[in-house]
């Protein structure tokens, strides 16, 4: 029998320790700590959850339980251009699902996944308060209104070109 080893980079561990310490290593601060940690890392991979559990003195199973309960938390690194499709009531009845299917088809990924090249990730959210523009799609901070399945290609193209011109 041997120990189970969890590997983590020193800088990352120090950052987690710093965040936990700012919350007095209180188990009750778990959600706040995870929020801050995700802000820093962009997502919450297993080793980060292990380290948080260790610092706060809670079980890893509990940390994982919280991370998987709240849709805000993610264990998958987000793409450079995170795509969010509103599937709230107004957007849904105006065809958000067709738009979503088109994004899935063109990117070859499911909701909650990130494309292999790391460019795009796909998520759903509920109502951004712009129901007049339904169906609504967000890419990063930018909002696109009245999106139709035909318009998906143009949105993706915009960011492909942006990436090419940045290079």
């Amino acid at each position: 029998m041997s120990r189970i080893k969890v590997k983590i980079k020193e800088n990352d561990l120090n950052k987690i320790r710093e965040i936990c310490k700012e919350h007095d290593n209180q188990p009750g601060e778990l959600i706040n700590v995870l929020q801050r940690t995700q802000e820093h890392f962009g997502y919450l991979p297993a080793e980060v959850q292990e380290a948080v559990a260790n610092e706060l003195g809670v079980s890893v199973a509990k940390v994982y339980g919280v991370v998987t309960f709240y849709s805000f938390f993610t264990m998958i690194p987000q793409g450079r251009y995170p795509i969010s499709i509103c599937t709230g009531t107004a957007c849904y009845v105006r065809g958000a699902d067709n738009v979503l299917q088109e994004f899935k088809r063109q990117l070859g990924i499911e909701v909650g996944e990130t494309s292999e090249d790391g460019k795009f990730s796909l998520n759903c959210l509920r109502c951004v308060g712009a129901c007049g523009l339904a169906p609504v799609v967000l890419v990063g901070d930018k909002t696109y209104g009245r999106v139709s399945p035909d318009g998906v290609k143009d949105i993706l193209k915009e960011y492909q070109e942006k990436e090419n011109s940045d290079e």
């Binding site: 041997s2 120990r3 189970i4 980079k9 079980s59 199973a61 339980g65 309960f69």
Partner: protein, 591 residues
């Protein structure tokens, strides 16, 4: 305390403020059906997530139905527990649960002993409306050395979580995901064997369905018995005889020792022996180690670590290896009775009957799930051949007896075979919390003082409280003894030791409520801890009726030392009867 008056089903009742409707109804003998709710009164664990909604009742003046398990009574409240609205709601709830539950009741391990099945029968559910459209959640089945997790059958009652986190403070299980996708699992849905699980099996003991069950070795036993080249040996733990009868309709606390022996013999075991024999042997070794450590400690030896902790319980051993690895040299190095038995059976006894160890199959019958895992630990194998081939639970034995069509209650009483069936009352009380340390005290006292005990029973070591303390006078030398059952209670004593504040010389720890009598392999206690107390009384009864009650008086143990081992803690004893512990904690490393 302030009281509240209310009416339930037209009957008035007065209960203390803060009481739930469910408990108030119970006072009137109104039994509201429940599913997720669980109250293990004597160990202070109450699970009332209010999640399943089976226990709903109608409260006058309230629009929606109230979950009675989690709703507190108020003055003048008027409650109705079986209106048509309530019955329909209950039915719908159970239909929904069943719509996402496998329908393999005929072959399910928990068939006949499943709370969900009982409820479906009680509510007369014959079809599930909309089943053809209902989606089923699916998960992979996880097999660990002791426990099988079949999450398709999880109904999210979260009782297992209460046991794993609140009572045992192990933290292996937690709910993950939400809604339809939700279930209970270790972190990252890893297999249980990589989690901090101790295999105590308390999650299995409270699971209402077959989401959590034991690894079944019944077929391995049948194969072994069917093989004429094998000599198959049984050893039965003390707690089994105090609970097996319940599976055959006996009152809790009925001892069925002799009938169990007859049943095992008729099943085809070549020898029916008793783990109690090995418990006596454990006392010889552990008692000698305690006296040795104590003497060194009292003589000012700074090297020796005190207190000494017992090491019979494999779930407890795995707990310290996982959660307190820095203290892994504190438990006694003595192996558990199960393993001592296997080790002696495959050496001393195999020689006596002129068999090779490969041709001897040692099968233990245990109240325990962790024993399955313990028997597979590498240090208990010789050239890959385990000292104990496999371990069955009390429940598995009950199934085998039923399968063989034996009417246990009408079997004659027979005695264990010799030599390894001879035991004393000290071996018997290993089955209850406080028993191991009482057995050790009986022997240590007489060996240390050279005098006979004035009174054999140590009532101060008995009881059901989670943590108990007692001081025993060894003729002028006071020995402070601590006892904990439940790993959460053990954790408290370990934290004291860690902080250097422990006053104890010796501590007994058992993982399960009440000790082995409340083990994860026992017949269901039906969420009634009074059953555990009845089993505990049965164990003390068996001890009282034994001719010999001190381990060092066991004639077969004396002979074993004369013929084979020499004396306690001899080189041979160390090789066969002692062990060491490992650090298996999770370690965060810089990459």
């Amino acid at each position: 305390m302030e009281n509240v008056k209310l009416t339930i089903d037209n009957k008035e009742v007065e209960v203390p403020k803060g009481t739930t409707i469910y408990k108030a109804a119970k006072k009137l003998d109104i039994d509201i059906p429940v599913l997720c709710y669980m109250n293990l009164e004597d160990i202070g664990i109450e699970n009332k997530p209010g999640g399943c909604r089976v226990c709903v009742v109608e409260v006058e003046g309230r629009n929606n139905l109230a979950p009675s398990c989690a709703t507190e009574v108020t003055e003048g409240m008027v409650v109705k527990t079986h209106t048509m609205r309530v019955i329909n709601a209950r039915r719908t709830v159970v239909e929904f649960i069943l719509s996402d539950h496998p329908k393999d009741c005929l072959t399910c391990k928990k068939s006949g002993n499943c709370e969900l099945q009982d409820l479906a029968i009680k509510l007369g559910i014959r079809e599930i409306p909309g089943q053809e459209y209902a989606e089923m959640s699916t998960y992979k089945t996880d097999y660990s050395p002791s426990i099988v997790r079949e999450l398709d059958k999880c109904i999210m009652c979260r009782r297992c979580e209460a046991m794993c986190n609140e009572f045992q403070t192990v933290g292996a299980l937690n709910a993950f995901n939400r809604g339809f996708e939700a279930a209970v699992a270790p972190a990252f849905e890893m297999d249980l064997q990589y989690s901090p699980c101790t295999y105590c099996g308390q999650c299995v003991a409270v699971c209402p369905t077959a989401a959590l069950t034991e690894v079944d070795h019944s077929r391995d036993l049948i194969d072994a018995i069917s093989d004429p080249s094998k000599t198959v040996i049984a050893q039965t733990a003390p707690a089994v005889r105090a609970a097996l009868g319940e599976e055959f309709g006996n009152e809790p606390g009925t001892l069925v020792t002799g009938k169990m022996v007859t049943a095992l013999r008729r099943l085809g075991f070549d020898y029916v022996f008793d783990t109690d024999f090995a418990a006596d042997l454990t006392i010889m070794e552990e008692g000698a180690e305690l006296l040795d450590r104590l003497t060194k400690y009292l003589n000012g030896d700074k090297e020796v670590r005190m207190p000494m902790l017992t090491s019979c319980c494999p779930a407890w051993v795995r707990f310290i290896e996982h959660h307190f690895p820095e203290m892994k040299d504190i438990p006694s190095s003595a192996r558990s009775p199960q393993q001592m038995f296997g080790s002696i059976a495959k050496t001393y006894f195999a020689d006596k009957i002129e068999k090779k160890r490969e041709d001897v199959v040692v099968v233990s019958v245990m109240p325990c799930l962790a024993k399955k895992y313990e028997s597979q630990r590498d240090e208990f194998k010789v050239d890959g051949n385990p000292d104990v081939d496999f371990s069955l639970t009390t429940r598995e034995l009950a199934h085998l007896i039923k399968e063989a069509n034996f009417d246990l209650n009408n079997l004659p009483d027979e005695d264990f075979d010799r030599p390894m069936g001879e035991s004393t009352g000290a071996g018997v009380i290993f089955g209850t919390t406080g028993g191991v340390i009482e057995a050790a005290t009986r022997t240590a006292y007489e060996v240390h003082t050279g005098k006979e005990l004035p009174k054999i029973s140590f009532d101060e070591l008995r009881g059901f409280e989670g943590i108990r303390k007692a001081t025993v006078d060894f003729e002028g030398q006071e020995i402070n003894i601590g006892i904990a059952h439940g790993l959460g209670n053990a954790r408290k004593l370990l934290e004291e030791i860690k902080a250097g504040k422990s006053e104890f010389h010796a501590i007994e720890i058992m993982a399960c409520p009440g000790g082995c009598i409340g083990g994860g392999g026992q017949p269901s206690h039906h969420n009634n801890t009074a059953i555990l107390k009845a089993r505990q009384n049965a164990i003390y009864e068996e001890d009282k009726n034994k001719k010999l009650r001190k381990s060092h008086e066991n004639p077969e143990i004396k002979k074993l030392y004369e013929e084979f081992l020499g004396k306690p803690m001899s080189e041979k004893a160390h090789e066969l009867l002692h062990t060491k512990y490992f650090d298996i904690s999770r370690k965060i490393e810089i990459s």
